[in-house]
């Protein structure tokens, strides 16, 4: 289990994350939601130790260090592969460094997405690059798979494929923390939603509980963010009023 305890992060004195405490047990698919700048990426980077922070992040009671870092994989929209290497070379690199790397999963996913093994990644389209980034994260053999906007730039069909793959191949011990703005698309496949707002934890919702209460995930998120449904019509009304006065 991953535990975050009173995690705080500041950039040049400006608050990025404040008092974040939560647990990520094994085997969950968790959605991480929040507006741009809410701290989703920062939170993931803190978990991975890529950024310094205050507070603690532990994996099964131990701090995250090089000894247990292989339990985490990371797929980011910024991409973390080597653009000048081929997929085959990445496979070799990962197999060398991650003892639980799953060659079988890697090859199956490469086949599924019809990605070439002997072509440098920089020649891939944006969608293919995203697919490859996700394939690496899924094949690393990590128990905790962190994905930060992995579908940015992918079309709907591509994303549909992703969801099918993710829900189909994840083992019971694998946890997926998925940061995305596509709430409706992932609502049918996540089990829990963590909401961030301006660096603070705005909500931690169980999708099962929501279903029981008859509330949709989107509505629950809107509620947590105090979303004002009438703000668009009011703004349009005000604007058209102004124009009318002119």
């Amino acid at each position: 289990m991953v535990e975050l305890n009173i995690l705080n992060k500041r950039y040049w004195g400006k608050r990025a994350l404040e008092n974040i405490s939560l647990c990520l047990p094994r085997g969950e698919i968790v959605g991480l939601f929040g507006e741009n700048g809410a701290g989703k990426t920062t939170l993931m980077k803190c978990i991975l130790g890529l950024l310094p922070f205050e507070g603690t992040v532990t994996l099964d009671g131990k701090p995250v260090t090089r000894k247990n870092i292989a339990s985490f994989s990371f797929a980011t929209s910024e991409h973390s592969f080597f653009p000048n290497l081929t997929a085959q070379a990445h496979r070799d690199f990962y197999a060398l460094h991650f003892s639980h790397f799953s060659d079988q999963r890697f090859r199956s996913l490469m086949d599924f997405f019809s990605l070439p093994m002997h072509q440098t990644i920089r020649t891939f389209s944006t969608g293919q690059k995203n697919q490859f980034e996700v394939i690496l994260a899924l094949s690393q053999g990590a128990d905790y798979i962190l994905m930060d906007e992995p579908f940015a730039g992918n079309d709907l069909f591509n994303r549909e494929d992703f969801y099918k793959v993710l829900s189909g191949i994840l083992e019971p011990h694998e946890t997926l923390l998925l940061s995305t703005h596509l709430i409706e698309e992932v609502s049918g496949f996540i089990g829990r939603a963590i909401l961030l707002r301006r660096g603070t934890l705005a909500g931690d919702l169980s999708v099962d509980d929501l279903e029981e209460s008859g509330k949709s995930l989107v509505d629950a998120i809107k509620e947590a963010y105090h979303y004002r449904a009438d703000r668009v019509s009011r703004a349009i009304g005000e604007l058209s009023g102004e124009e009318g006065e002119k």
């Binding site: 990371f74 991409h79 973390s80």
Partner: protein, 168 residues
């Protein structure tokens, strides 16, 4: 084979190593060529020890003539290697920066179980380059010193030069 292994293990993955190798080879050649100015300076200093007999046309050693010290003649002849070694620091920085180009592969490198992998791949090449520069400069230093020591008439060697090779 060794070059391939070095490239696979000690250079950032996907880094254009052959360009770097070409730069280093060319730099080494230039540094070695520049160091030849010692030969020219030494030759001039050595020639100054002799004077030509106007009657016979024969070159004879001038009485009491002393050659300039080794360090004076060497001057900046080996500085090319120093510059090349310093440029290795730039390459080290370039290797780190390479992990931010086209992607953020730095995220992968920083979460590898082997904490030294990133630094090994970024620093091994430049450190090796600095070592090669040091060895090449050292060998040329010894060679030029041997030339200075054995090609100069004993009586013309300066006392400091004499101390250097145990004549004092």
């Amino acid at each position: 084979m060794k070059k391939e292994r070095f490239e696979q293990n000690c250079i950032p993955p996907g880094f254009p190593f052959s360009s770097e190798l070409t730069y280093f080879t060319m730099g080494s050649l230039c540094a070695a060529l520049y160091s030849l100015r010692f030969v020219l300076d030494y030759w001039n200093a050595r020639c100054a020890l002799f004077r030509q007999n106007p009657l016979t046309g024969e070159w004879v050693l001038e009485e009491g003539a002393q050659i300039a010290s080794f360090s004076e003649i060497l001057g900046s002849a080996l500085n090319g290697f120093l510059i090349l070694a310093c440029s290795m620091l730039f390459f080290a920085a370039l290797h780190y920066q390479f992990h931010f180009r086209g992607s953020r592969s730095i995220y992968l490198m920083r979460r590898l179980p082997d904490r030294w992998e990133l630094h090994r791949r970024c620093l091994a090449g430049p450190v090796l380059g600095i070592l090669i520069c040091a060895v090449a400069a050292g060998m040329l230093f010894l060679l030029y010193f041997a030339v200075y020591r054995f090609a100069t008439p004993q009586e013309c060697l300066s006392p400091l030069g004499g101390e250097l090779y145990g004549r004092a």
